[in-house]
Amino acid sequence: MATNSVDTVHVNPQLTKKDFTSDQLVRWCPGCGDYAILSAMQNALPQLGLKKEDFAFISGIGCAARFPYYMSTYGFHTIHGRAPAIASGVKLSNPDLSVWQITGDGDSLAIGGNHFIHALRRNIDINILLFNNEIYGLTKGQLSPTSKLGLVTKSTPLGGIDRPFSAGELALGARGTFFARTIDTNPKLMTQIFVESSRHKGTSLIEILQNCVIFNDKTHGAVTAKENKDDFQLHLQHGERMLFGKEKNKGIRLNGFKLEVVTIGENGITEDDILIHDAHDEDTTKHMMLIRMQPPEFPMALGIIRAVKAPTYDDLTKQQYELSKENAKFSNVEELLQSGNTWEVK
């Protein structure tokens, strides 16, 4: 298996970014956050120890959804909102594939909302990359279900009046087992999270705060702008304290039923007061609180917020095959056809 002839591609531990780059011209707007996400993904995949043909990227419709064209893996650019259902079919049929669903905030949370929550509930082992630019990019700038209340867009000249979804809250409300958040301005964090979430067995939801330079520029500025980076980003690591700030001297503490930001050294606060992140906690309570943190009161929580074990739909499906085989009355169609009440006509 280790020969390197022209006709056989072997398991290549040295796959590189280039191996995952397709020959298609990338057509996002100059400056779009999607470029960085693409690059982070192309950096992540070689780290997974899989072969190139083991990846399938399934997308809906939107700027984000053009992603599969730029990956030289298997890819399927489907229809608006339906990628979770298609990806589910792919994974259940071909469980050895590493399945990545690429979606925008409109694709996943507007038209695709139902498939989104059901994928999470079933815990099918796929990875959902949600490019959240809080706008419809491809259709040129309408309100999205994540747009901030009051946002003036082409479809809401007087400002949006829909209260936005929080992808994380919705996902946990739908019983999601894995939720991570990252930003397009931090390639290292993205790559790391892509690698880790691919290892989670079950539906991994990764929300990427992505900038649409054209229709919603700087919507994540409060988090991503250089001057806000230290004070408004909290990089969570399971088992570590929730520290942030330039000097890593700020932290999150529990005060009764609420979280609060404290500074070590002030008011007698010591590192011991700072919460330790437990991504594996079954209970969603603290994860929900972390997801809800928003500047300017809080830093935005980044990293893997929740990662709990639960049986996956695909594994349970396999188990039912086995169960069914054990109790089977017939082992092929011929036997099935002949089973039960039959009679001979002579």
Binding site: D7, T8, A85, I86, K91, L97, S324
Partner: protein, 612 residues
């Protein structure tokens, strides 16, 4: 009505059982059917479910019926009119008398006729007393009380005892048609394995009914319907939905693929899901999706991943799948869509039958988006056409819509069990690497279909999608000429299927006055009507279609052999309009019925005779 009964021999007879939905009429009917099948009769059945789960007891809405025609001659329909009606209560009588032929036998449970119950059924006065039954031979049997009496001493509660009255009625029917009780006695033993008291009670009730009928001399005569001349072989009973499910599994096995069935429940298609979900060990994955869109999309995902992707629904659900079917057609992946049609539009008449989704199947997608459409025409050939649908979708790499309907889905008939090895081969167009760069839209020259490249295969990594793509390479293309080419290729690909399906058959001489044309579930009635007319010397033939898009190559040639072409459909004339648009030179007449019911042979004959 006295004297010892006579035994009359009949060529065919129609019996109808009707009662409250809780009365077990479906079971009674299917037991009668099975016993008759074992005796060698040919037969066809029609269950007539109420629309509600359990409509209030004793109301017309709650009546459940089961009709079966048995014969020593070939039987193609459950019959227009019943020779015998067994009505377990006034509501059953009220709603079913219309299906009994004048002069037929009506057996009622006289215990159930009281002021309260016939009011509840919507009768003004007592129907037994107002002369409304004078055209029928009424047999009043105190079924409930006789059942109770015969079960005295069995330690069962009253409710369970009364539940056995359907077996009493079945016993009466068995005597009436000279059938043995053995099969049902065996059945009861198996069914109530864990409750010996129930075996005993039901068996006793059955026998009590039989001996009651033999004894009371209330019945004018009993009938014998001798065995039909049926092709030798091993038979079983099968309903349309079961046959469709099995056809698909058989095709998957034959092509060496696993079957992925993505579905969302809907009447009358749900039973396909129920049936398939039993066969995980045969490599069947059933995925009950959150809605019809997810259902079809999961099936598309499965096809993309290399399994046989299938979905099923009824009209309202099929309407929702249009966009996704368009995607499957655009990316040229296999996909079988089963539409078990029901009365519409909108929610319509969910438990009734209709053939009105033909247009939806043909045109229910944005833009020019042809797919293959086939239809089954009997409960048992749902097996063959489900199988064909699966074969065509993989061999031609384009979606196939398979049209069934409520009548076929729930109807059942004896079916000669085929041997899997005799089923047509299915050749999968798997893509192959030839040392050159892999392109996803390289095409088979004769079929114009592309090849199936399965994710996980090394060296075939490629991207597909719903945007227009360049032929061969599959790269997204907005080029005008390429678009025209691709639209035409997709059309041609479907048209070329005509070269891979059998020629249309004609039942008759091949030319004459009137060609009756039908498709789908009307086969039995059309065939019966045409055969009867042919028997009477009329120059009438039948061309019944199973392949609707594309049509068989010889269709136009057939039509041209007749003075008149009469298209009969259970809709407003959709197939007729389609034929006119394709063969404008053929003069097409139409006959339509939109009542949620099959054609009767009688009304068909009348209409055809009009044209002669």
């Amino acid at each position: 009505m006295s004297g010892k009964q006579q035994t009359e021999e009949l060529e065919k007879v129609v019996i109808r059982f009707a009662g409250d939905s809780g009365d077990g009429m479906q079971l009674t009917g299917s037991q009668f059917t099975l016993t008759s099948a074992l005796l060698g009769n040919d037969l066809a059945t029609f269950p007539d479910f109420p629309a509600e789960i359990r409509a209030p007891q004793g109301t017309v809405e709650g009546v459940s019926g089961f009709q079966v025609q048995i014969g020593k001659i070939d039987i193609f329909t459950p019959g227009d009119e019943a020779d015998v009606l067994v009505a377990m209560n006034p509501a059953a009588l009220k709603s079913n008398l219309q299906w009994v032929r004048k002069g037929g036998n009506v057996i009622i449970d006289s215990d159930s006729f009281e002021e309260r119950t016939f009011k509840r059924a919507g009768y003004e006065g007592n129907p037994l007393e107002n002369g409304s039954l004078q055209d029928y031979n009424l047999i009043e049997a105190p079924i409930t009380s006789l059942t109770k009496t015969s079960l005295q001493g069995i330690a069962l509660d009253n409710k369970s005892v009364v539940r056995c009255k359907n077996m009493f009625a079945l016993g009466v029917a068995y005597w009436l048609f000279d059938r043995s009780m053995d099969q049902t006695l065996d059945f009861l033993k198996a069914k109530f394995k864990k409750a010996p008291l129930l075996v005993e009670a039901n068996s006793k009730a059955l026998q009590a009914g039989y001996y009651y009928a033999e004894t009371v001399e209330a019945l004018p005569s009993n009938y014998k319907v001798p065995a039909a001349k049926i092709e030798p072989g091993k038979y079983r009973h099968i309903s349309g939905n079961q046959a469709a499910a099995w056809g698909i599994i058989a095709a998957a096995e034959k092509m060496g693929k696993k079957l992925f069935f993505g579905s969302y429940p809907i009447t009358p298609a749900s039973d396909i899901l129920h049936e398939l979900s039993k066969y995980k060990n045969l490599g069947v994955t059933t995925f009950q999706a959150e809605d019809e869109i997810a259902a079809v999309c999961s099936a598309i995902g499965a096809s993309y991943a290399g399994e046989l992707g299938v979905t099923a629904s009824a009209g309202p659900g099929i309407a929702l799948k249009g966009e996704a079917i368009g995607l499957a057609a655009m990316v040229e992946l296999p996909l079988v869509i089963i539409d078990v049609q029901r009365g519409g539009p909108s929610t319509g008449l969910p438990t009734k039958t209709e053939q009105a989704d033909f247009n939806l199947a043909m045109f229910g997608r944005n833009s020019d988006c042809p797919i293959i459409v086939v239809a089954s025409s009997t409960p048992s050939n749902c097996f063959s056409f489900a199988y064909q649908a699966a074969k065509l979708t993989v061999e031609h790499m384009t979606p196939v819509m398979f049209l069934s309907d409520g009548y076929l889905a729930n109807g059942s008939e004896p079916w000669k069990i085929p041997s899997v090895k005799d089923l047509p081969e299915i050749v999968i167009p798997h893509a192959r690497l030839n040392g050159q760069e892999f392109h996803p839209y390289v095409r088979d020259e004769t079929k114009l279909s592309r090849f199936w490249a399965i994710p996980g295969t090394e060296g075939m990594e490629h991207r597909i999608g719903g945007l227009e793509k360049e032929n061969i390479t599959g790269n997204v293309s907005y080029d005008p000429a390429n678009h025209e080419l691709m639209v035409k290729v997709r059309q041609e690909k479907v048209s070329k299927v005509a070269g891979f399906i059998p020629d249309q058959e004609v039942i008759g001489t091949g030319s004459g006055e009137v060609l009756v044309v039908g498709w789908g579930s009307t086969y039995g009635s059309l065939l019966t009507a045409v055969k009867q007319l042919q028997g009477a010397g009329k120059k009438v033939d039948l061309a019944h279609f199973n392949y609707l898009s594309p049509l068989p190559k010889n269709t136009e040639a057939i039509f041209k052999q007749y003075k008149k072409v009469l298209v009969c459909e259970l809709n407003m004339g959709q197939f007729a309009a389609y034929l006119r648009s394709i063969y404008p030179e053929v003069k097409i007449e139409q006959f339509n019925k939109i009542q949620g019911l099959p054609f009767t042979v009688m009304e068909l004959k009348e209409k055809i005779i009009e044209l002669l």
